[in-house]
């Protein structure tokens, strides 16, 4: 956890209440991840962010104590070619949601700091506009744990 986030937790009990609720009407649901497939490889996390407020919200500057780099990427498929595009800010529309799911938006977790094997609970955090940070965590699973394609049923 970064120092600012730690400070916010100290002075803002709301953040301590739960990992999925944050001020500003943000809720995180269905957050899950997959452990690296090979030593040194990336882990990945997917989640849905719900915005119950009347203002668009942007999440950015994703971090985790377990990984040196947490980056938001979009998988694109055009003309049969798959590409990844790094995205700096995740826009969650007012009264709407943003979905990170296989084949689309995903958090790429790189440069593991320690044990990130299957079963590891990985804390994640994102800056919430200018309003602080939202915290959540994912369990890093083995591929195939969520059904045949590894995606949503």
């Amino acid at each position: 956890m970064t120092a600012p986030a730690r400070a916010l937790c100290l002075f803002a009990p709301l953040w301590l209440a739960g990992c999925s609720d944050a001020p500003g009407g943000l809720t995180i649901s269905d957050a899950y991840g997959y452990a690296p497939l090979a030593p040194g490889g990336p882990a990945v996390a997917y989640l849905t962010v719900h915005n119950g407020s009347d203002d668009d919200i942007e999440l950015h500057t994703f971090t985790s104590p377990l990984f040196g780099r947490v980056e938001l990427h979009a998988t694109t498929l055009a003309d049969g070619v798959s590409r990844m595009r790094r995205i700096d800010r995740l826009r969650v529309p007012a009264r709407g949601r943003a979905v990170l799911q296989p084949g689309g938006l995903h958090l790429m977790l790189r440069d593991a700091n320690g044990d990130v094997a299957v079963g590891t609970r990985c804390p994640l955090s994102a800056a919430h506009g200018d309003a602080g940070r939202v915290e959540f965590d994912v369990v890093l699973m083995a591929r195939g744990s969520r059904g045949e394609s590894g995606g949503r049923p």
């Binding site: 497939l37 090979a38 070619v81 798959s82 084949g103 790429m108 591929r143 195939g144 394609s149």
Partner: protein, 203 residues
Amino acid sequence: MQPTRLLILILAMLGAAGAGWLLASSIGREPALEKATVLPEPRPIAPFELRDERGEPFPSAALEGDWHLLFFGFANCPDICPITLQQLAEARRRLAERAAAEPPQILFISVDPERDSPAILAAYAAQFGSGVRAATAAPEALRRLAGELGIFFRVTPGNDAYDVSHSAAVLLLNRRGELHAVFGAPHSVDAFVHDLPIVMASR
């Protein structure tokens, strides 16, 4: 000939012609395929040599005798590559349960030999169960093979965290090691399970 008999004769001839047309058009008709595109004729591939997960040579001749599903990607791909391999592994598992015929082997070809060492490839392939192998080759050999198979890939230079764009198609090679059919992305386990028995039985 009386008009009535002439009419009957004409109708009979039309009927015979119609029946003949129906018969001709139904011969060779196969169930519709969901996603596979079968080549009009299987395309031979020039001999090539990969390096497998043990660091051993993997010649193209080793592909003969079995059907193979090929997918090109790289081990540092967090999303589309594992998803596709998981789909292929699941499809293979479902086809094996049917036990009608030996399901295709799956071969993951890394277009990132710089980072994907044999140890990495071995660990990667092992995540997807039996029937999945991984291999790579020197950049020039990869270019040749990919070009022959209509596969595009590009390594985007950068720092150590460079990205690779690549075709997401899955290629089906027949028992003679020829390119037989192509599955375009996005992929579906159901489509693989539906199409593969039809395609593999047709020749």
